[in-house]
Symmetry: C2
Subunit: 286 residues, 2 copies
């Protein structure tokens, strides 16, 4: 079975749209794009289009290629204080190898819809998830929709990045899955991946996972986006792995759309939480 | 080989003592004990004695059994603002099943020497470790002293608590170990533990790990503290496992002293960082 991330994302979007209607106003999502890396520009464009579909108002901030940290921090500060902005997203990577960690920490935690603020990462690790990274959340959402019970399930994650591998491992543990994390330093990768009932691959190596590395009946999530001879492919050999797995996400059309749909639903989450906080404060005033 | 946690802790303490001398003042560690649970009282006493050995000034705060959250939060606030207090530790568990998460978040992150503040947990997960939980840090310190290269090493952790399992998993990944986390919901525990080159057991089940579950030449860390017929034992069958393992920590005298020594060294870390911040501010004033 092909795990149709796009179809699932459409369902999540429909849900977000009805939540926006109930909210009574269009939540605001600010995107900050520094420079004009074509891939980054495309990702921001995809997110804006998705916002439109759901009724989220996107606020587009473009900073020049040579914007320094101070300018980025000032931009974030001003967005933090804007009442019409409920979520803030800093498109990565920053140009010139600028370290984004200070900028990411500057985003108000309650507007951190990408889930990269250390405070939100900490709540995640402690099992009190608030806003969390969107790709891990999308994968868990897909597993729920597939009816996979994660308790005790053998989950193997390939890749230990801050964006996917590590937060996903913690989220899987929060759901009582048995979790193995492998990466470029792992000695015998196949030995581990073959035990996976759920296999998530976020290594950034085209065709890394072959049929003989996948357990029969596994669910395989391919987070990789690699350009090979002008074609975009994942980290998994899709056609052959599809023959042994219970389900595989295609690239494109798998984890990507799921990730974007989580960004939208978390923007609605953020707007709902901020409205609640606002109402509590109003109540106290009376 | 018996991994002598006590001897290692003594070395770490000696190092902390020289750092205190270089600092020129005795850092202050405040302990908050709510109620009078005998085990908690004993742990606080052990920590105070260790402080004495190293030249750390312990500040002892005892709150009555029926102290509510507000009282605890006020206590923390006042310790946060005291300049002679560099580290704050809230002894857990709180009586009456009181949830400590709000209190833990109230401790100033730069004084959070137990490493449980969500901000510090988040820095940990993102690989930018600051103050971190003491038991995981003690285990990693011991492995360094044993000369174990963690890169690519097969690490298996049994237990997925916020205090040991989850933060240790993230810290091992930060060091490029290959990490498996098992727990009470894991189906075939032995199948996993048998692959471990480093096995850390924090399950709280006396004698859970038997000889046939341990790989030859593994390093085994026993975090368990269980009372069986008035004797304190770990989660590992010590005598038999010692025959196959390269090293095993005894209980008591293994992970416990290492944990306390990390608390002290992190208190010195905190004092150093606070002094640096203070000096930077003074510089700016001029």
């Amino acid at each position: 079975m092909i795990i149709d991330g796009k179809a699932m994302a459409t369902e999540v979007e429909a849900d977000s749209r009805s939540r926006v209607e109930r909210l009574g106003f269009g939540p605001g999502l600010a995107t900050i794009l520094v420079g004009d890396n074509p891939a980054s520009r495309m990702y921001v464009k995809i997110k804006h289009a998705a916002c439109d579909r759901v009724g989220i108002c996107s606020v587009n901030v473009n900073l020049p290629e040579d914007a320094d940290e101070t300018v980025i921090l000032e931009t974030i500060e001003s967005l933090n204080s804007r009442e019409d902005v409920n979520g803030i997203l800093l498109q990565l990577p920053l140009p010139g190898g600028l370290d984004p960690s200070r900028a990411m920490s500057a985003i108000a935690p309650e507007k951190d819809v990408d889930g990269f603020h250390p405070l939100n990462m900490g709540f995640l690790l402690a099992g009190a998830e608030r806003l969390v990274p969107c790709t891990p959340k999308g994968i868990i959402c897909a597993l729920e929709r597939l009816g996979v019970d994660l308790v005790g399930t053998e989950v193997v994650i390939v890749g230990h990045s801050n964006v996917v591998g590590k937060p996903l491992a913690a989220m899987m543990l929060n759901r009582n899955a048995t979790v193995q994390v492998c990466h470029v330093y792992t000695r015998d990768l196949a030995e581990h991946t073959r035990r996976a009932e759920v296999l998530v691959v976020a290594a950034g190596v085209a065709g890394l996972i072959k049929k003989n590395m996948v357990r029969e009946g596994a669910y395989v999530f391919d987070v990789g986006i690699n350009k090979v001879a002008d074609k975009v492919v994942g980290d998994v050999e899709f056609e052959s792995v599809l023959k042994v797995a219970a389900g595989v996400t295609p690239v494109p059309g798998g984890v990507g759309p799921l990730t974007v749909s989580m960004l939208l639903s978390q923007t609605v989450d953020a707007a709902e939480m901020q409205m609640e906080t606002w109402m509590e404060k109003e109540k106290e005033k009376r």
